[in-house]
């Protein structure tokens, strides 16, 4: 048994969970302040998760619903394992060198597929509608996200994240080196976070919160845990690819926080898009910037 690896994995997951939870709390607090409210304390999400785990009963509609949240947490922690938390291996290495960007793009869908299947088994029509919207929207934001990442992979001839970080140590942040790809990536990232205006998947009063509507107690708790880990993993991935990674925890927190606040603050002041509107939004300006980024990359290598 490789105990140091297990230790590293455990500590990384706990860190991601803590940071993700606090970020969630902060986003609730910020939302409240913008709406001129006091808002819940920033550790509110911890209490919510703890409460959900301390629920004493649970129901499921079959095996697939039982397994759905497991898929989600497996996928989110797996994503985390392949993303370097800090530069130069200062944090635990985990499985950083065992996967690359294309692998991660598929890995990130693994959990969504599992959640979708779990939600499908519940037989609640609202869940199915939510899943249909979520998957449709995913096709929408994947296009600019893909354009951004492919532009970078092509331009710098690297698909591994560690490779991209090393490269940024030499040429500076890719945010400035490939600005168009960064814009496309950022706009797609806003969609990936599922905050308003792209939150029609989880519309609470219209769809009764959509896919998780039949999940309660420990299942919902596991989903929230997975969600906060996944948030952190996505943020670190974005920072690693575009913002040159981070050399210490403080820098990482600062960068991820700034990136995290963009969808949050954009979301608070935006009304909700319908599904086809959001798909068309992603295939509009973000894709345009992605194509520009791609042409730029092409120009740079030829």
């Amino acid at each position: 048994m490789n105990w140091s690896l297990i230790l590293g994995i455990t500590i990384t997951i706990i860190t991601a969970f803590t940071v993700g939870m606090f970020y969630g709390g902060i986003s609730r607090k910020v939302t409240a302040r913008i709406q001129n409210r006091v808002g819940p304390p920033i550790w509110q999400n911890f209490l919510d998760v703890l409460k959900l785990y301390s629920k004493e009963s649970a129901i499921h509609h079959g095996w697939m619903q039982h397994l759905g949240p497991l898929w989600a947490i497996t996928a989110s922690t797996a994503t985390l394992m392949f993303v370097p938390i800090l530069n130069n291996g200062q944090f635990y290495q985990n499985l950083n060198f065992s996967g690359d960007l294309i692998f991660l793009m598929y890995m990130m869908v693994f959990g969504q597929l599992g959640m979708a299947l779990g939600a499908g088994q519940t037989g609640n029509p609202n869940s199915a509608i939510g899943v249909s919207r979520g998957l449709s929207q995913m096709v929408g934001y994947k296009v600019p996200w893909l354009l951004a990442l492919v532009a970078i992979m092509v331009q710098y001839k690297a698909t591994s994240i560690t490779g991209l970080i090393e490269l940024q140590n030499q040429i500076g942040w890719l945010m400035f080196a490939s600005p168009f790809a960064f814009i496309a990536g950022l706009l797609a990232f806003i969609g990936m976070m599922h905050y308003s205006p792209f939150d029609i998947v989880f519309a609470p009063s219209e769809l009764a919160s959509g896919p998780p509507s039949e999940f309660g107690g420990k299942y919902l708790g596991l989903m929230m845990t997975s969600g906060s880990i996944f948030t952190f993993a996505k943020l670190v991935l974005f920072v690693d690819v575009f913002l040159g990674g981070a050399s210490n925890i403080l820098e990482l927190l600062l960068k991820t926080f700034v990136i995290y606040m963009i969808p949050v603050i954009y979301g608070i002041v935006s009304p909700r898009y319908r599904t086809e509107q959001s798909i068309r939004y992603f295939w509009g300006w973000p894709t345009f910037f992605g194509v520009i980024g791609m042409l730029y990359a092409w120009y740079m290598i030829s």
């Binding site: 709406q35 409210r37 819940p40 509110q44 209490l47 703890l50 998780p212 309660g216």
Partner: protein
């Protein structure tokens, strides 16, 4: 503080602490009291300070908020919703109508006392209670949860026959599936 409550182990204390500060509310808003919920949740009174948050479905909810009168027809739905919630679960009776029928005390189709049909942990009186009263009711519920007194759900499980008998007096054609108890 912990020593005072001998009956509660530390684990139970922590659990109750979390339960107390995180109340997902499912508002059953068929009565007139539903109009008091938006001011309670939004910026004027901001119930989210206390960890009170709306829940979309009974599966996710902790607190069932019965806002006002219950017709015999809606009682059936309320019972179903209550039984779909996961333990531990709490009920807040909101407004005079849930206590003694309020202004509908002699109506042929509104029930008079809610706690005969489902266990109620906290009643908030008033017609309608103002948001301050609602929040004070929630704070009272939080106290009960911390002390372990908010055990209506356990009472419901233990006295299910009695509750069923009362429910069946209202819902004569009982064809409800056997739900989560």
């Amino acid at each position: 503080m912990i020593e005072k409550k001998d009956s509660l182990a530390i684990g139970e204390y922590i659990k109750n602490f979390a339960r107390k500060h995180s109340l997902f509310v499912l508002a059953y808003g068929t009565g007139c009291g539903a109009i008091e919920i938006p001011p309670t949740m939004t910026s004027r009174y901001d119930a989210e300070r206390f960890g009170i948050r709306g829940a979309a479905t009974p599966r996710q909810a902790d607190v069932l908020l019965i806002t006002g009168y219950l017709a015999t027809k809606t009682l059936k739905r309320v019972i179903r919703v209550y039984e779909q919630m996961q333990d531990p679960k709490y009920v807040i009776g909101f407004g005079s109508c849930t206590i003694n029928g309020g202004m509908y005390w002699d109506s042929y189709n509104t029930i008079n006392s809610l706690d005969k049909y489902i266990p109620v942990d906290v009643f908030i009186n008033g017609c309608m209670p103002r948001p301050e009263a609602v929040i004070s009711g929630f704070v009272k519920l939080q106290e009960y949860i911390q002390e372990g007194k908010a055990d209506g759900w356990r009472k419901y499980q233990n006295n299910i026959e009695e509750y069923r008998e009362n429910q069946k007096r209202i819902i004569k054609n009982w064809r409800m599936p056997d739900y989560n108890l």
